[in-house]
């Protein structure tokens, strides 16, 4: 899942980047609303985490511009402004959630995940593919009651494919949602990761959960 963090505090950017990356998100950073607008025109994000008080154009201005471009990306406002008026204004102008600073990192992650579930119209945090269970809250995969050991990146690929079940996902799409923008990754990296996932989740006698569509990408049927 790819996130854009629009925050002018470099220190907060650093901790958010580290924490969210560790949670398996691909994170892009922007210090100003103008920089963020450039990024959203180039890349697709699952969730934008937006500060309100930014140098130059503020977060509300960014939100207005984003929605006027018909961009439907989920936006979570993360701001020190805790007035009801500000919260109402943010939500009315198109934000999907509002969290005030100081915040608990775990809550931020939970809210991001809730927005992601909403994005994929999936209210249940547990996805089932046959006897394979993906617990999106615990970041855990199990099969026949046995927990499987997947790395964060592996889990992210499986999660993305599962959330887009029935649709073919290209290698570029997977790379785009797995790595931060500007980070070059070859398609081989994706293939290697998919290979590892298959190795961990497939049972020898059964059909593979992830199918390869030659020339296109991967799909979970």
């Amino acid at each position: 899942m790819k996130l854009l963090v629009v925050e002018d505090s470099e220190r907060l950017q650093r901790s958010l980047f580290t924490g969210l990356s560790q949670e398996g998100f691909a994170v892009d950073l922007a210090r100003t609303a103008e920089e963020a607008l450039d990024l959203v025109q180039t890349y697709t994000y699952d969730v934008i985490i937006l500060d309100i008080m930014l140098p130059g154009m503020d977060g509300f201005g960014f939100l207005q511009r984003l929605r006027s471009q018909n961009n439907q990306t989920h936006v979570l406002i993360l701001s020190a402004k805790d007035d009801v008026q500000d919260r109402v204004k943010g939500l009315v102008w198109g934000a999907d959630d509002y969290l005030t600073k100081p915040f608990v990192f775990g809550e931020l992650v939970a809210r991001i995940r809730a927005l992601l579930r909403r994005l994929h119209q999936n209210k249940c945090p547990v996805l089932k593919i046959g006897d394979l269970r993906l617990d999106l809250a615990l970041r855990q995969v199990s099969r026949q009651g046995q927990v499987l050991d997947l790395s964060a990146k592996e889990f992210s690929i499986l999660e993305y494919l599962a959330l887009n079940r029935g649709r073919v996902v290209t290698r570029d799409q997977l790379a785009d949602h797995l790595y931060q923008s500007g980070c070059e990754s070859s398609s081989n990296v994706i293939d290697v990761l998919v290979y590892r996932i298959r190795k961990k989740i497939n049972l020898p006698a059964e059909d593979p959960v992830i199918e390869t569509k030659r020339g296109f990408g991967y799909v979970i049927a």
Binding site: D8, S9, E10, R11, L12, R14, S15, L16, T18, G19, Q22, D51, I52, M53, L54, P55, G56, D58, A80, K81, D82, T100, K101, P102, F103, V104, F105, G106
Partner: protein
């Protein structure tokens, strides 16, 4: 320490009004009593005198001597020893010519005296009490039937003196009744006036009481609601003053509220940073490089917060006039060199300043002025647009010196130039860089005020400048 004695306007007015009105009433009643007594006395005296004159008229001088025409008439009022009438008629030779039976063995006069005018006196005539006595000398009438030619040639008949007394019990009783009536009237009037004064004061002071009750129930949230004018001429100026005071208090409270809000807001970001760094660092401690960077960030955040707290304390001390000012003679050029030196230590890459300050001697607090200049220099370096074009200038104007620090900058509106000295003001609201607390210029303004230095901000594209107006001879404090 004893608290000042509380006075009551109502009590004071009541006491003074009642005392004043009572005194006037008593004086009036006394005068009325005196007038009534005089009138009654005069009437009584007139009656007594009339009686005496009647007796005098009935005293006739004949050839044979005096003929008292009434001596053969029965006059019961002169018969009874209890009175009420008594008389004596004295001849000029000291002979008592006639006296009423009512006198028995008592006397009205001891001897003959001549009284050209009637004289009234009070007389105690035991055992029947006080009497009113009139004494009058008169010449008896001649009997027209007698041949008095020879006698009349001898001159006027001799003057007799009549003393006539009448018991005055009725008069005294009338006095006494009048006094009682006056006393009762006085008490009734005083009771009426007391009631009226109290009622009048209660009604008159009711708007004041209502105002007091309203103010007693006034809370901090109602400070922006002006007090209603009760349409009482005397209270209108007080209400206006109170409304002005309430507005000033409300503004002050609003400023304090805003200030607290700003402080809380300024602390939110560093606290959020600390919380986030701590949580992420604790969750993934194996990422050593990141965790080391987090610790460095925590150090910077604590420095920033420490600076903010120090500035807040400085502001609070300045606002409560608790800054110790030690004025001494300073060399401005030396001070400027020291500021430059400190700036180089803080930021070795800071651009150099154009211009210099002359070796002028001024009287000021060295450490405070150094802090002011350092703050302004830091601001200029931090916010200048490249090329920074930092310049310092000094000139003499009338009776003061003007020190000017300028740099290239983004444009400023006149409002921004005024507002920049307010705590936590930032040109761009979201531009908290984590290093500047937004309190520097507010502190500079407070320190300048304490040092009696005027401070102004100007912008003439593309240059922003701060000017300090320093009096040449600052008085010692």
């Amino acid at each position: 320490m004893s608290s000042p004695k509380t006075i009551s306007i109502r009590g004071l007015l009541e006491r003074n009004l009642l005392l004043g009105i009572s005194l006037v009433l008593i004086a009036f009643m006394t005068l009325l009593g005196w007038v009534a007594r005089s009138v009654f006395q005069d009437r009584f005296d007139e009656a007594v005198l009339d009686e005496a004159e009647v007796l005098a008229l009935l005293t006739i001088q004949t050839d044979q001597g005096l003929d008292l025409l009434f001596s053969h008439t029965i006059m019961p009022e002169y018969e009874d020893p209890r009175g009420p009438h008594y008389f004596e008629i004295w001849g000029p030779d000291g002979q008592l010519l006639e006296r009423s039976h009512s006198l028995q063995n008592r006397k009205l006069l001891e001897n003959y005296e001549y009284f050209p005018e009637p004289v009234f006196t009070d007389l105690e005539l035991p055992p029947h009490g006080p009497c009113r006595l009139v004494t009058l000398s008169f010449s008896p009438q001649h009997d027209s039937r007698s041949s008095t030619t020879e006698n009349s040639a001898d001159g006027p008949p001799p003057s007799l003196t009549i003393a006539l007394a009448e018991r005055r019990e009725e008069l005294d009783e009338l006095y006494s009744q009048t006094l009682w009536i006056q006393g009762i009237a006085l008490l009734c009037l005083m009771a009426l006036i007391f009631w009226q004064v109290r009622r009048g004061l209660h009604k008159g002071l009711a708007p004041l009481n209502r105002l007091g009750q309203t103010l007693a129930s006034w809370g901090p949230n109602q400070l922006n609601t002006p007090l209603q004018d009760p349409a009482v001429r005397e209270l209108t100026p007080i209400i206006n003053q109170l409304n002005g005071l309430l507005k000033r208090v409300a503004d002050r409270l609003e400023n304090e509220r805003l200030f607290s809000q700003n402080v809380a807001h300024e602390l939110r970001t560093p606290i959020a940073e600390l919380a986030s760094l701590a949580e992420v660092g604790r969750t993934w401690p194996e990422n050593r490089q990141a965790v080391e960077g987090f610790f460095e960030d925590v150090g910077h955040i604590s420095q920033h917060m420490q600076k903010m707290v120090a500035n807040l304390l400085g502001l609070a001390r300045s606002e409560s006039h608790r800054i110790q000012i030690n004025k001494e003679e300073l060399d401005l050029a030396t001070l400027w060199d020291r500021v430059q030196e400190r700036m180089r230590l803080l930021n070795p890459n800071a651009p150099a300043w154009r211009g210099n300050l002359p070796a002028v001697s001024i009287v000021s607090d060295e450490s405070m002025l150094e802090l002011v200049l350092l703050n302004l220099v830091q601001n200029a370096v931090a916010h200048a647009l490249p090329p920074a074009d930092l310049a310092v200038a000094f000139e003499e104007q009338d009776n003061h010196w003007v020190l000017s620090l300028s740099n290239r900058s983004e444009p400023f509106t006149p409002d921004q130039l005024q507002d920049m000295f307010r705590p936590f003001w930032r040109k761009h609201p979201g531009s908290g860089d984590g290093f500047h607390s937004g309190l520097g210029l507010a502190l500079v303004e407070h320190y300048c005020a304490a040092l009696q230095i005027g401070i102004e901000a100007h912008y003439v594209a593309p240059t922003f400048s701060i000017r300090l107006h320093m009096p040449k001879n600052q008085p010692d404090q």
